[in-house]
Symmetry: C2
Subunit: 410 residues, 2 copies
C-alpha cells in the first residue's frame, strides 16, 4: 500500500450521503482503520483499490467470486446476452436451461426458483416449508447468519417483537439441543434451517458431523418437517453438488446465492418434488428476478466449476496456505486457530478475545499494507483465479506480518 | 405472431423444473393463453419472443425499461465497468457518485442506501421508520402492492399469523380512513406507507389528491411518524424528482427500484437527515448490493432521463395513445376505462367484471397476435425507446382488436 488518499476522500464524501458512510457486510467499520473501503478493479485472484494498490484477494467479494475476478468466459457470455437484452416481460430460455442444470448437478433438486439475494432464498425456503405443512416454527442454529431481513437480521434495530417469534434455537452439531427445540415447537414445526457448515463470525468454524446431518434428516422425516440447508455462503465451494452430499444427506430445500454466478446478482432456491406444490403456492417475485445476463453467468459458471476442477484446485491452494501459515505460526510461537474447509478458511488468534481482535487486526493490517487482503473475523474464500504463485507470495507476506506481531506481543 | 412453437416447448420443459412452469409477476398464467412466456431480445420500444415474433412493447418489462431496451449509452457504460469488474470486497466509487446524484435530483433525499429488490427498499424503509421512533405499526392502503416478502405479499401461502400483525389499513385518498387507522395504531405508530399513486391491479388507477398527500405529511409530523412513499413502480416516470414533488409534499423516506437503472438490478432507499441515524442503526445487506455495474447503469440512466426529456416524451406519447384509443372505443361504442398517468396507463373494459376479464383478454390477445404487447389487468409503461411511429402502429393494431371485440360482444 503506497497511500490511501483517494479512499479517505471518498469516505468523506460518502459520509455525507450514505448513513454511516457505508453499511452492511462490506462496511470497513469492523476492519482495521486503514483498510480500503472502495475498489476499482479485479482480475483473477487480485483486486485494486482506488489508490491503485494491488492486493492478492482472499475474500473473493465475501464469496461471490468463485472462478476469479473478470473471468473471460463468464464475462463474454454476459456481454453476448447484454447485446440481446437482459430484462424483458418474461424470462429468456436460459431460465429453463439453468433450472435443468441445477437439477442435474444437485442431487436433491427436482426444481428451482431464482431470486436476487441470499436472504430472498432463505426466506422463500422458510415460506415454502410453512406452506406445505401449514406450520410456523423454524429451528435455527444459535449464532448462524441466514440473511438480513427482519426475521433473520442479527441486529435488533428496526425489528418488531413478532419478527423472530417463530424461530427456535438449537446449537450446531448438538443433537440434544435440536431435540429440545423440537419439543418446544410441539405440533407447530415447519422445518429445520441449517447452514452447510457452521461459519458464524468471530468463532471457529465447524463442519457438520455425519451423525448430526443424518439425525436432522431422520427427525424431519419423522416429523413431516422440511430440512432446509443454507448453501448461500458454502454452495459450490465444497462440492459440485449440495454440500451435504458429502455426508450422503439430501435436504428438502436449499438456498443458494454468492458463488453461483461468479459475482453476478443471482440467488436460487432448490427443492424436491415433495415441496413443488407448496413452492408453486407461495407468491414471491422481484423486478429483476428473471433477467437473463445473471442466469447466463450462472450457467457458464456452473460449467466451469466442473470443467476447470475449481473445487479441487481451491481446496489444494487452501491447504498449501494453511500448512504454510501453521508452520510460520509455530516457528514464531504464536498460537493461531485455523478452522473450516481449507478453501474457506477462518484465521483467529488464540490470545485475542471475542471482543478484542487486536492481534488479528494487526496481522491483517500488516498483510494488507504488503498487498494481501485477509479478514480478521470473517471466513475467507479462495477462488479459481488464485495461483500457486499467489499463495507463495501470500505466505511471504504473512511471514512478515507474523514478525510484526511477534515484536509487538510475544 | 406467426407461431409459438418454441414457447410451447419451453413451457413444457419449464413445467418439469420450475414450480408452476413460471412464478411471480412475469408468469403468464394470468394472461390470455397464447401470450408468450419467454423472450429473446429487446431493442428500443420493441421485444422479440423465442419464435421470432416482434412486439411493440407497452410493458417495458413491468417498469424497469425507462429509456428503451438495450439503450446504447447505458449498455456501453455497463460494458466499460464490467471490464474492470463488478463485485469486489467493497463498492466502487460509483456508489458515492450515485448517492450524490439521487440527493441532487430528489428534493427530500439527504442520503441513500442501495439494494436489489423493490421489496428490499420498502422493507428497509419500514425498518428505518421503526428504528427511529421505536414503534411498530405501519399504515398501508388496502389493496396496495409493496412487495412479496411475508409482511407484504398479497398471497397468504407460507406466511404466519404474525407477519402482517403490524399493518393497519386505510383507503387511498380517503382522509377519514387514515384518521381511523391512526386511532387504531394509538401510541405505536411508526409510519405511513403510501404508493406514489394508486396502481393496484385490476381496478382503475388513481392519482393522489394534493389534500390527501398534504394531510399525510401534516399528520406524520404531528405524530412523529415517518411518511414513506413507495416509488418502486412510479419513480422517475412522473417526475425527475420524487413523484410527490408535483404536489409539493416531501416524504421522510422513499423506496425506489424498477426504472432507476434501465433494467439493471438495483433498488434505492432515500431519506432525510431526520432518519439518517436510524438508517445507520438498521443492519441490512446483500451479497450483490454493492456491485458497480448496476450503479453505473443507474447513474447513466438518471442523466439520460433528464438530458433526453424522457418523462415529457413518454407522457406525450402516452397521451397520443390514450386519445387515439378513446376515439376508437367511442366509434365502436365500447366502454373503456383508461386510468392513471398517460405514461403508465391501465386499460379496463367497463363490461368486464373484476373476476372475468374476457373482453380485456380478447382485446390484448388480438393485439398481441398483431404485434402489440398490452396487459389486460396490470398498468403498462411507456419508455423512451417508443416512437411516434410505434404509437401510430399500435393504434392501427388496437383498431383491429376493437373490431374483433365488436364482432364478439357488441
Amino acid at each position: 500500500m503506497t497511500n490511501n488518499n483517494n479512499d479517505l476522500l471518498l469516505k468523506e464524501r460518502a459520509a455525507k450521503v450514505i448513513p454511516g458512510g457505508m453499511y452492511g457486510h462490506q462496511s470497513t467499520w469492523q476492519l482495521p482503520h486503514s483498510f480500503p473501503q472502495f475498489f476499482n478493479r479485479g482480475k483473477g485472484g487480485h483486486i485494486w483499490d482506488t489508490d491503485g494498490n494491488e492486493y492478492i484477494d482472499f475474500m473473493s467479494s465475501y464469496g461471490p467470486i468463485i472462478l476469479g475476478h473478470c473471468h473471460a468466459k463468464v464475462d463474454e457470455a454476459v456481454a453476448q446476452q447484454l447485446k440481446k437484452g437482459d430484462c424483458f416481460n418474461g424470462p429468456s430460455p436460459i431460465i429453463v436451461e439453468l433450472a435443468e442444470k441445477f437439477c442435474t448437478m444437485v442431487k436433491h433438486a427436482d426444481w428451482s426458483l431464482f431470486a436476487k439475494n441470499g436472504t430472498d432464498a432463505t426466506t422463500i425456503c422458510v415460506s415454502i416449508a410453512r406452506a406445505r405443512n401449514n406450520k410456523s416454527k423454524i429451528l435455527v442454529a444459535k449464532g448462524a447468519y441466514h440473511g438480513a431481513a427482519p426475521w433473520c437480521t442479527p441486529a435488533p434495530a428496526g425489528t418488531t417483537k413478532g419478527d423472530k417469534e417463530n424461530l427456535i434455537h438449537y446449537n450446531f452439531n448438538d443433537i440434544q439441543s435440536v431435540e429440545n427445540a423440537i419439543n418446544e415447537a410441539g405440533s407447530d414445526l415447519a422445518g429445520v434451517l441449517v447452514s452447510a457448515f457452521k461459519h458464524d463470525n468471530i468463532v471457529d468454524q465447524e463442519l457438520p458431523s455425519a451423525d448430526f446431518a443424518q439425525y436432522l434428516r431422520k427427525r424431519c422425516d419423522e416429523l413431516d418437517a422440511a430440512l432446509i440447508v443454507d448453501e448461500v455462503r458454502a454452495g459450490f465451494r465444497l462440492s459440485e453438488g449440495a454440500s451435504w452430499e458429502l455426508l450422503d444427506v439430501q435436504p428438502d430445500l436449499s438456498a443458494w446465492s454468492k458463488a453461483i454466478a461468479n459475482g453476478y446478482s443471482l440467488a436460487a432456491i432448490l427443492g424436491n418434488d415433495k415441496y413443488k406444490k407448496a413452492a408453486r403456492s407461495v407468491f414471491t417475485t422481484g423486478s429483476f428476478w428473471f433477467t437473463a445476463a445473471s442466469m447466463v453467468a450462472a450457467s457458464t459458471t456452473l460449467d466451469l466449476i466442473r470443467s476447470e476442477n475449481v473445487i479441487q484446485r481451491i481446496e489444494a491452494l487452501g491447504e498449501t496456505f494453511r500448512t504454510g501459515l501453521k508452520q510460520q505460526a509455530n516457528s514464531y510461537g504464536i498460537p493461531v486457530s485455523q478452522s473450516g474447509p481449507a478453501q474457506m478458511p477462518l484465521i483467529l488468534f488464540a490470545d485475542d478475545s471475542i471482543n478484542n481482535k487486536e492481534r488479528g487486526n494487526l496481522f491483517t493490517e500488516e498483510a494488507m499494507k504488503l498487498g494481501l487482503y485477509l479478514h480478521p473475523r470473517h471466513n475467507m474464500f479462495f477462488n479459481g483465479g488464485h495461483t500457486e504463485q499467489d499463495i507463495k507470495q501470500a505466505l511471504e507476506i504473512t511471514d512478515r506480518a507474523f514478525l510484526v506481531l511477534k515484536d509487538r506481543y510475544y
